[in-house]
């Protein structure tokens, strides 16, 4: 099992959700984050001061999947989130050792989906 963490643009969330849905990935956890990457940030002109905001708003997805779902999930995120412009985001894959469903006590592959 793997834990896939994706950092995407907030405005791409609807598209990514759709792409994941099409790939039969229905479960996920979404967190609001801010991030620094290659993207430089939009220019704010608040009260006559031009600033580059360097911690930009991103959305973080955490998706736990069985091993055979890793590839399709990553592909779906890529498809949904890519615009080809800086700021599109990153995907990280971490090993996941155990998984429990609290309601039933099921474990691992049975619990993950």
């Amino acid at each position: 099992m793997k834990l896939i963490i994706a950092l995407i643009q907030p405005e791409k969330l609807p598209d990514v959700k759709q792409a994941l849905f099409n790939a039969a990935v229905h479960k996920m956890t979404v967190t609001n984050v801010v991030g620094c990457g290659q993207q430089k940030g939009f220019t704010e002109t608040y009260r006559g001061v031009v600033t580059e905001v360097n911690l930009l708003k991103k959305v973080r997805l955490d998706i736990a999947v069985n091993d055979d779902f890793v590839k399709p999930t990553i592909k779906a995120i890529m498809n949904g989130a890519r615009t080809g412009r800086i700021g599109d985001g990153k995907i990280f894959v971490l090993p996941l050792e155990e998984c429990y469903r609290i309601r039933t006590g099921e474990t691992n592959s049975a619990a993950i989906g």
């Binding site: 405005e11 609807p14 979404v30 704010e44």
Partner: protein, 415 residues
């Protein structure tokens, strides 16, 4: 003595004007509260600047068109207020300020219906045109000695002049813009796009209700012996209260829970509906008018959603539908003894007054719908009405103004 009388009347008209001005804050808070945080600055900027634009437009052109001497269709004297005369026994400046605040209210109604997707420059253009030309023309018909005034059409404080105008302009604009992204599923089901701050909206409703005590009672334009302003005030309050209660009951019954946002819209609906008849009816009639307004607003919200017209704050159900209802209610509950040309239907006056009311509100609807359709089309061609998909998803605050409403707060902008 005459000096004092004039002084007291001026005092009253000015205080009423201040209250009507303050409604601008109410509109701002209601509209901002009922939309998403990512577009809050945008609507507030629109709301703020349309009052500024209305002040200018109504100073330069509007007043002359509305109250100047001219034809039955529009006035033509008093541009820049120069040579203009007051429409009441108070100084021109005071009368103008009161009327300008009304004009600002009419303009700002539209912002809510077209919220979360309309370009800012397009809005600026629109708001100048409506306050300099469209509103004053309808105003001239009814209050400036125009053709409807001549027929005995009654609209004490502006159910038609202000609210029907604003509400139908919002409807035309909203339909032309199309719904917000994500509002309707491909299969036609509507999604709720919840407002980002119900407390702000609720404050706004209280401010509006408060300001309405200037809007309606102030339209007496004179204190007199107090009877008229007191009657108008009590009617205004009762209609609002009943509108709130009945909208809440309706939404509770139909959807299972007493939804505050709808109850608040109900109170506003009651206020809009009583605006025309407030001087001509008894308190018991105000109660009925308000209660019906509360029901109407719920039905209208549901109906336009079925038609996939996406009006985020309910501008049309509140102002358009209930502006019509209030105007017609005069023909039902109005009394000759209270200053009307004919008794209403329920006082044995037959259908005369009702017919006149219908004609008046119908003409206003027609004129507004056609003229605003042209205005919005022209704006669409020359400036563009709607922002890009990307900007809409990110929010207009960043896109149009480079500013966030709640900097530092963690907010989900898309779901």
């Amino acid at each position: 003595m005459n000096e004092l009388l004039r002084g007291v009347d001026t005092l009253w008209v000015l205080i009423a004007a201040f209250l009507v001005f303050f409604m601008q804050a109410g509109f701002g808070m209601v509209e901002a509260g009922f939309i998403r945080a990512k577009n809050a600055c945008n609507i507030l900027t629109k709301n703020f600047l349309d009052f500024c634009m209305a002040s200018v437009g109504y100073f330069v052109f509007g007043y002359a068109i509305m109250f100047g001497a001219g034809s039955a269709f529009m006035g033509l004297t008093g541009w820049f207020l120069s040579g203009a005369v007051s429409g009441a026994s108070v100084p021109l400046s005071a009368f103008w300020l009161f009327q300008a605040a009304f004009c600002g209210a009419a303009a700002t109604i539209v912002a809510g219906g077209m919220a979360e997707r309309m370009k800012f420059p397009a809005y600026l253009a629109y708001s100048f045109v409506i306050s300099a030309f469209i509103y004053p023309i309808v105003g001239h018909w009814v209050w400036g000695g125009g053709w409807l005034a001549g027929l005995g059409f009654a609209d004490f404080a502006g159910s038609t002049v202000v609210h029907v105008l604003g509400g139908f302009a919002a409807l035309v604009g909203t339909m032309m813009l199309g719904p917000r992204i994500g509002k309707y599923c491909p299969d036609g089901r509507a999604n709720a796009i919840a407002g980002h701050s119900i407390p702000l909206a609720s404050l706004g409703v209280f401010i509006l209700w408060f300001g309405w005590f200037g809007f309606n009672p102030g339209s007496t334009l004179s204190v007199g012996n107090g009877d008229l302003i007191a009657r108008v005030a009590i009617n205004t309050n009762l209609a609002a209260a009943l509108g709130g209660i009945f909208a809440m009951l309706a939404v509770w019954k139909f959807f299972g829970k007493p939804d505050l946002s709808m109850a608040m819209n109900g109170a506003l609906a009651g206020l809009v509906a009583i605006t025309a008849p407030c001087a001509f009816v008894e308190p018991w009639a105000a109660i009925i008018i308000g209660a019906i307004a509360g029901l109407l607003v719920v039905l209208a919200v549901v109906a336009i959603d079925k038609l996939q017209i996406d009006d985020p704050v309910g501008a049309f159900p509140v102002h358009g539908v209930n502006g019509v209802w209030g105007t017609l209610a005069i023909g039902l509950f109005g009394q000759k003894a209270l200053g009307l040309s004919f008794d209403g239907l329920f006082y044995g006056g037959g259908l005369t007054q009702l017919g006149i009311q219908l004609l008046g509100v119908g003409s206003a609807v027609l004129f507004v719908a056609v003229s605003m359709w042209i205005v919005f089309k022209l704006i669409d061609v020359f400036i563009g009405l709607r922002v890009t998909r990307e900007e809409e998803l990110r929010g207009l605050d960043i896109g149009e103004h480079g500013l966030e409403a709640y900097s530092g707060f963690q907010i989900f902008t898309t779901q």
